[in-house]
């Protein structure tokens, strides 16, 4: 069985985030890392391998489309236990929107070949749209079992639990399929010392767009189908009123405030 887990290299959300002059996300000036939500995807990919009757027959490949630094995200996945890495790195990719990113990911997945399960996170932590997994399913013509909070699998049969807006659903499909997982699936493991050492010997393949047969003109900022016209840091909120409760004064002040704003 072949599992590909899609991992994104994102700016650290606890650092100050910024835009470049061309309105793309600053991915250089801000320290990056493996998107926290994709750690859950790596974890589930590894559990699928471990639960397989013949774990050695399962290959988990961590795939990332991103700048040089994205190799760090892949390496983290290798340290956690993935078997191989695939990194699509090409200057032409910079500034790609979700449509282009999904196109490149799909081409890379086809290149890796005979993939049974594509595992994604539920969203990228940098302004994630939560659309890449559905787009991948569309492009690869595979069933999508997305936003899984619980995953059950037996041979090629998958069942997931999905908390929708208005209902909780059980979704079923057979492999090959695209799976996306939420943080409800359970804590991701930390790389062990052994894992960190082993990762150094694991294969990490780099691809340029030309290796994947993707026309550079179809991706990147200039080919994006949406254009950001302007970005603006939100003006700092005008400092609110803060009162300290003493013998019930807080409740009265709160009620007065709500009444003054016509909420009561």
């Amino acid at each position: 069985m072949n599992i590909v887990v899609c991992v994104k290299y994102v700016p650290d959300s606890t650092a100050d985030q910024a835009f470049e002059a061309d309105n793309t996300v600053d991915r250089v000036g801000v320290p990056g890392l493996l998107s926290e939500l994709d750690e859950y995807a790596v974890e589930q990919a590894l559990q699928l391998k471990e639960k397989n009757s013949d774990p050695d027959s399962v290959t988990v490949t961590a795939l990332s489309v991103g700048p040089e630094g994205a190799a760090d995200a892949i390496r983290k996945a290798l340290q956690m236990g993935a078997d191989a890495g695939a990194h699509v790195v090409d200057d032409a990719v910079a500034g790609s929107d979700a449509l282009a990113t999904s196109k490149v990911l799909a081409a890379a997945i086809n290149k890796i070949g005979s993939v049974d399960v594509v595992v994604c996170g539920m969203a990228s932590t940098d302004g994630g749209m939560s659309v890449v997994p559905a787009m991948l399913a569309e492009r690869l013509d595979l069933p999508q079992v997305t936003f899984a909070s619980v995953i059950e699998s037996q041979d090629n049969q998958f069942r997931i639990k999905r908390d929708g807006d208005t209902a909780t659903e059980i979704i079923g499909a057979v492999t090959p399929l695209v799976l996306s997982v939420t943080d409800q699936t359970g804590e991701a493991r930390y790389p062990s010392f052994k894992g960190i050492m082993a990762a150094k010997k694991k294969p990490l393949e780099s691809y340029a767009l030309s290796d994947l047969g993707v026309d550079a003109g179809q991706v990147g900022l200039s080919a994006a189908w949406t254009a950001v016209e302007s970005t603006e840091a939100r003006p700092p909120r005008t400092a609110g009123t803060i009162v300290t409760d003493e013998d019930g004064s807080g409740a009265t002040a709160l009620t007065e405030f709500l009444a003054s704003k016509k909420f009561i």
Binding site: V131, E138, R139, G172, W225, R234
Partner: protein, 317 residues
């Protein structure tokens, strides 16, 4: 004027409020056409409902053949209606499913996609709030039919009658779209409170409740509000995950958001920072949530909230 397609968000024919907001936005961009994918028996009622909010046309697609499948068939339906109607834009609610439909549709129509708009004006030019609400971004679709998913509360519904002309649309659904099967569906139990993402007021509790959500629930009821929770409260099992607000929960942008016993971690902020008015009650004056508030009370929620609830109830008489 060109049609603007609005995908009707509904539960068994009961149209949800965000659909009316989309119709109000559609009117700014062209002629609103609603797309109802649902049971044939519910179509007339839904069509009437959307007509009241300005739908000039209502495409009705009988979902008998497709309702057992996830997302993909709905994208095919919209693709086929778009091919016939050449709309100026397609508007969908920004739910998990809405965004997935939009994503697949964007690939099919080779069109640009903008998600999570908090405002849409003629153009269409969208406004989004990114990086946990720290930046506002204005964007445009530059290729194909603009596909835009819009967050609840981005516009006020406008009650203006539209013609509501029903057009039954026979979509052809491919076998490929029927690969992810909905094996079982458990509708969410109604709490009797407004739906979290649609509510005008949300009262949320965190770890500071210590597991006793009564003060939160009671304050919410006195204000006619929905109840939310931080991940810490959800992880502790005090409220189900469907109550969670934040990066991995729901995003809300109500008129009023009250956070009690919530510290204001970045992942929580991501789900509530676009709220119009923010109020916090926290016993730690250093809690980061106070950086966001319009009004804050440094105090114990277990005494402040019940006393406030009493006063609010008294005022409402």
């Amino acid at each position: 004027m060109s049609e603007v397609l609005v995908l009707v968000d509904h539960v068994d024919g009961a149209v949800r409020k965000p659909t009316y907001e989309l119709l109000a936005i559609a009117k700014r961009l062209g002629t609103p056409s609603a797309v109802f994918i649902g049971g044939a028996a519910q179509a007339a009622g839904a069509a009437e409902a959307v007509a009241k909010f300005g739908a000039e046309k209502v495409y009705v697609v009988d979902d008998t053949e497709i309702k057992g499948y996830l997302v993909a068939p709905k994208a095919e339906v919209l693709q086929q209606i778009a091919a016939a109607a050449s709309p100026a834009a397609i508007l969908i609610t920004s739910s998990a499913e809405g965004k997935e439909i939009a994503g697949r549709l964007a690939v099919k129509l080779e069109s640009g996609l903008i998600t999570d708009a908090v405002d849409v004006q003629a153009g269409p030019v969208t406004t989004q709030s990114v990086f946990a609400g720290n930046f506002t971004v204005q964007a445009k679709v530059t290729q194909g039919t603009p596909i835009i998913t819009v967050k609840p509360n981005a516009a006020a519904p406008e009650e203006t009658a539209g013609a509501g002309a029903v057009e039954n649309f026979a979509a052809t659904i491919s076998d490929a779209a029927k690969k992810a099967q909905i094996v079982a569906s458990q509708p969410r139990e109604s709490s009797g409170r407004p739906e979290l993402t649609e509510a005008a007021i949300v009262v949320s509790g965190g770890r500071g409740t210590g597991g006793n959500f009564d003060p939160i629930d009671n304050l919410a009821d006195s204000l006619g509000a929905a109840v939310g929770a931080s991940r810490a409260a959800v992880d502790s099992g005090w409220k189900p995950h469907t109550f969670q607000i934040g990066q991995t929960g729901k995003t809300v942008s109500p008129q009023l958001y009250i956070a009690a016993g919530i510290s204001g971690a970045i992942q929580h902020r991501a789900g509530m920072q676009t709220s119009k008015t923010i109020v916090a009650i926290n016993k730690d004056e250093e809690a980061p949530i106070f950086e966001l508030v319009d009004f804050g009370v440094v105090g114990d929620l277990h005494s402040v909230l019940p006393a406030a609830t009493e006063q609010i109830t008294a005022r409402k008489g």
